[in-house]
């Protein structure tokens, strides 16, 4: 766990999302699926963000502006600085044979880095609109479905599934693929086990998602 004040090197619009690039400095990228706590300018608490891409010398985050913190992050300009803590939590296990990446909406965020780590396996990405689906350009070999079609309709059996997306999507994937690795979300104040705000039920016990997850085996979270 490193904390550094990173310099913003770029902020690009991709559909409704912003790809925020920062100079890597002393920060390690970590394992795909791990996350970082990003200082949200003007807000008391940082925000958890998955690492999206690792351009040389940079770290990049794909951010959906849904509230005050994410809007403040998306408003950052090159040259601005922000404190970043990470990498945090447990990422995806990469030792699988037939990887398939599944993402829904902003759940596509960790998949570009994961795809690079796995040698660009096939991916299925679901989005609310064509505008949102612009984010699919970040994931090689992606098949895109747009609502009312859901990713689970495009899922074929016989794969090692890596998924990230809204809870209903993860629950549906877990039903079809009990061995899938799923990246969950919970409200997080700290990301390092201090606040107990991110508690979820894992293996029948209340545990901290930032410590045990955010990536969990589907069967661990039988909802």
């Amino acid at each position: 766990m490193q904390r550094a004040r990173a310099r913003v090197t770029g902020a690009e619009q991709i559909g409704p999302y912003t790809l925020l690039r920062v100079a890597r400095g002393s920060l390690e990228p970590g394992i795909p699926g791990q996350f970082f706590m990003l200082e949200a300018p003007g807000r008391p608490l940082p925000r958890p963000m998955s690492l999206c891409l690792t351009p040389p010398g940079e770290l990049a985050f794909l951010i959906d502006p849904i509230g005050p913190g994410t809007r403040a992050l998306c408003a950052l300009q090159p040259g601005d600085r922000l404190a970043i803590l990470g990498p945090l939590g447990n990422g995806y296990r990469l030792d699988v044979e037939r990887p398939l990446l599944v993402g829904g909406g902003i759940g596509a965020a960790p998949l570009p880095y994961l795809s690079d780590a796995l040698g660009h396996p096939p991916a299925i990405l679901g989005f609310r609109s064509d505008w949102h689906a612009e984010a699919a350009q970040l994931v090689p070999n992606a098949e895109v479905v747009v609502e009312p079609t859901f990713v689970t309709e495009a899922l074929s059996p016989g794969h090692d599934v890596f998924a990230c997306g809204p809870e209903p999507m993860l629950a549906a994937v877990a039903k079809l693929e009990p061995a899938a690795q799923l990246a969950w979300e919970a409200p997080m104040a700290c990301g390092h086990g201090a606040c107990y705000g991110c508690a979820v039920q894992i293996d029948g016990e209340i545990k901290r998602l930032c410590v045990e997850g955010p990536v969990l085996a589907a069967e661990a979270v039988a909802a």
């Binding site: 409200p187 700290c190 390092h192 606040c195 107990y196 209340i206």
Partner: protein
């Protein structure tokens, strides 16, 4: 002058380097039985702070003594154990179980958890029963949500507390932008962070004047300047809470900022700044406060 963490705002086992940057580590409040805590969502950011309704999630005293404490001991940081109960006898029992553990430097009595009656009589009873159960230094942690905190502090002093921890959170409510329903599943939650600082200052100021006991000041400290203000109000030590979520490097940073604040102030030692906000700072030290507390037993 020590810099501690506020109870419930750091896990020394998941962030050992942060714990080692403190003068002592304060545990999350331990209760007699394990508690899972409240249903999520149990945190919400608000302007200048946050709300939490964690609900004292902890492994319970048995597991704490068997598993957590031995691992904390390996960190070689002085350990303060915060205890929380729902009846006077529970506090006494918790103190009794901790009394013979050499790795425990002090016990903090969290008498300000929302499920315990917060009237002075019961704070006095809790402290008296705890005092009888342990020789360890006892710090009593009070809620600012009371009409006269000085009176509660005096009751704790009379019952034999060695010091005070001020303050715990105060209830607040946040509503969802769209639905206008409470954002926490439990409804209201404890407000912490910068918004709490003036409340903490008032509590420390009043209790210092009322008791002269050593005070661990906390509530909204984000900078060395904030820490200095609590010291001037009467705190002999300070604890960092919500700031540790955003900045786990805060102990070292605030220590350095405080040192330069003190240098600018030109009062020499930091301890000389204790109580500066008062017309006549009571010349107290830890030991003086402690013996004063002992003599009224």
């Amino acid at each position: 002058m020590k810099i501690l963490n506020a109870s419930g705002c750091l896990d020394a086992l998941t962030a050992p380097a942060v714990a080692r940057s403190l003068d002592a580590f304060v545990t999350k409040s331990v209760t007699p039985l394990p508690r899972e805590g409240n249903a999520p969502p149990r945190i919400a950011e608000v302007e200048h702070g946050m709300l939490n309704s964690i609900g004292l999630a902890n492994p319970g005293i048995d597991r704490f003594l068997a598993h957590t404490l031995p691992r904390l001991r390996e960190l070689e940081v002085p350990i303060w154990v915060s205890v929380g109960g729902f009846a006077v006898a529970e506090y006494a029992d918790l103190c009794d179980r901790l009394d013979d553990r050499p790795e425990v430097e002090a016990i903090e009595l969290n008498v300000s958890c929302p499920n315990v009656d917060d009237v002075p009589a019961s704070v006095g009873e809790i402290v008296a029963a705890s005092r009888a159960a342990t020789r360890k230094p006892l710090y009593t942690k009070l809620s600012p949500a009371t009409a006269d905190i000085a009176e509660v502090a005096r009751a704790a002093q009379k019952a034999g507390t060695d010091g005070l921890s001020l303050v715990n959170t105060i209830l607040g409510l946040a509503l969802d932008e769209q639905t206008l329903k409470p954002r926490l599943s439990r409804g209201a939650g404890g407000l912490s962070g910068a918004a709490l600082k003036p409340i903490a200052l008032a509590a420390v100021y009043a209790c210092y004047e009322a008791t002269g006991l050593p005070i661990v000041g906390m509530g909204g400290i984000t900078s060395g300047r904030d820490a200095l203000e609590l010291v001037a109000a009467g705190a002999a030590s300070v604890a960092l809470g919500t700031i540790l979520f955003a900045d786990p490097g805060a102990p070292a940073r605030i220590r350095a900022e405080l040192a330069s604040e003190i240098a600018n102030l030109g009062v020499g030692e930091i301890d000389n700044a204790i109580g500066l906000a008062h017309a006549e700072p009571a010349a107290i030290s830890k030991t003086a406060g402690r013996s004063a507390a002992m003599s009224v037993q």
